[in-house]
Amino acid sequence: MRAFLPDYRLRQAATLDEAVGLLADQPGTWRPLAGGTDVMVQLAAGALAHRQYVSLWGIRELRRIDVDADIVTLGALTTFSDILRHDVLRSEFPLLGRAAADTGGIANQNRGTIGGNIANASPAADTPPALLVYDAQLELTSVRGRRAVSYERFHTGYKQMDLASGELITAVRLPRRRGWHQHYRKVGARRAQAISKVCLAAAALVESGRIADIRLALGSVAPTVVRAFGAEAILRGAAVGPEALERAGAALASELTPIDDVRSTAAYRRQVAVNMLGEFLEALPR
C-alpha cells in the first residue's frame, strides 16, 4: 500500500551547513535525501520506515567535479549523467562511466547521485565496485568537521557503514593514475535497467608480462560490494597466463559469499564471477 504522506516530513536545506546542522539536531531524526531514485521507490511502495528527511537537491557545493593534479573530487550530488559527460572521468576512470551508464535508464541517471548510490549501500549497486578499484576516499562531513575514510573500509556489513550519526557523505576522491588496463562487466537479466546478478570492475598494471599491481572488485556476490583480496594476492607479481588464471579463479570462487535470491543463484554468481575474471585476464598483454 502507498505511503500516507502526512506521516512524512521533508525540509529543504539551502546550504551544506544547514544540512549538517539539521542532521546533528536530535541525532538520527533527520536523514538525507539526494536525487530520490531509491527513497521515492520505497515511499511509493509504502516501505519507507524512516519518516523525516532533509532534501540536499540543489546544494551547489555538493554538485561539482574538481580536477587537480593528483586527484579528482566528485561532490556527493554528482549525478550519473554528470559522470558520463565529464571528459577526465571518461578518459581516466572509464569503469565509473561504464557503471554509471548501466545504472537504470537515462531518467534515473539524471537524478541518481554517487553519494546516494554509496549511502544506499546496496551490494548490487553498479558504481561502488569501480570506486573500490580506484581506491576511492570518501569525505564525511558533520557539524564536528570533516574526516576522510577509505571506501574499501566503509561498508562494514549488509547496509552497515562507517558513518556516524549526523555525518553526511559530501565527496568522493579518486587518485589519478596512468597505464592501468581496465575492465568492467555487468551481467543482469537484460542489458538496460536490470539490477546486476554479478558485476566486476577490474584494473591491472602490467610490466613486461607480469602483473605489477591489480584491483578486483565485485557486486552482488557478498553482503557488501567487495574487493577480491585473495585473487589479487595470487595475481600480484604473477606472469600473465593460464596458470595464474586458474589459481586466481579458484581463490576467487572460495572468497566470494553469494546467495540465492530473486535475481540469481549463488552457484551461478560464483561461476560467472570466475568467468569474468578470466575474460579480464585473457585480455591483458603477455
Binding site: T37, M40, L43, A44, S55, W57, G58, I106
Partner: protein
Amino acid sequence: MTDNQVQISFTINGDAVTVDVHPMARLLDVVRQQLRLTGTKEGCGEGECGACSVLIDGELVNSCLTPVIQVEGASVTTIEGVATGEQLDAVQEAFIAHGGAQCGICTPGMVLAAVSLRDRNPHPSDDAIRTALAGNLCRCTGYMKIFEAVRRSIAGSMAQ
C-alpha cells in the same frame, strides 16, 4: 509553512504555477491531480518503465521518483508542452506516421525520451537511439515501430 505543507513555484510548459503541496509528494501526482495534466502516465511507480517521464530544466526525469520540492524554481515540460498549439512536434508526427503508438500508455514518455535525445544529440546513431529509449517500456512490445518513428524524425536524412 510547515515541513508538511509548502508552496512550490515553478513553470510548467511555460506557465508559472504555485502549488500548495506536501514537499515529498511525487511530481507525477502534482502534475496529474493538482495541475490536471493527465498526459503524464503512471506505470510501475518505481523508475523502471519511463511512462511518467517529464523534462525538468531540459533533463529527462521519472516524475514518480521526483519529490516535488526538487522543482522549486525549475522549468518542467510534460507531454502537453511538446506540441506548439495545434502543431505537433516532428517526433509526434512520426509516431503517427509509423504506428509508434498502440495502447498509448508509454507514448508520452517515449516521445519525451526522444525529444530529450534530440536536444542532446541532433544526429544520433541507432545505438544512441536504443540507449535513449532503454528506460521506457512498451507493454504492447511495439518497439520496432517506436524505434523507427524516432529514427525517422530525429536522425532524419540518414534513415531510409
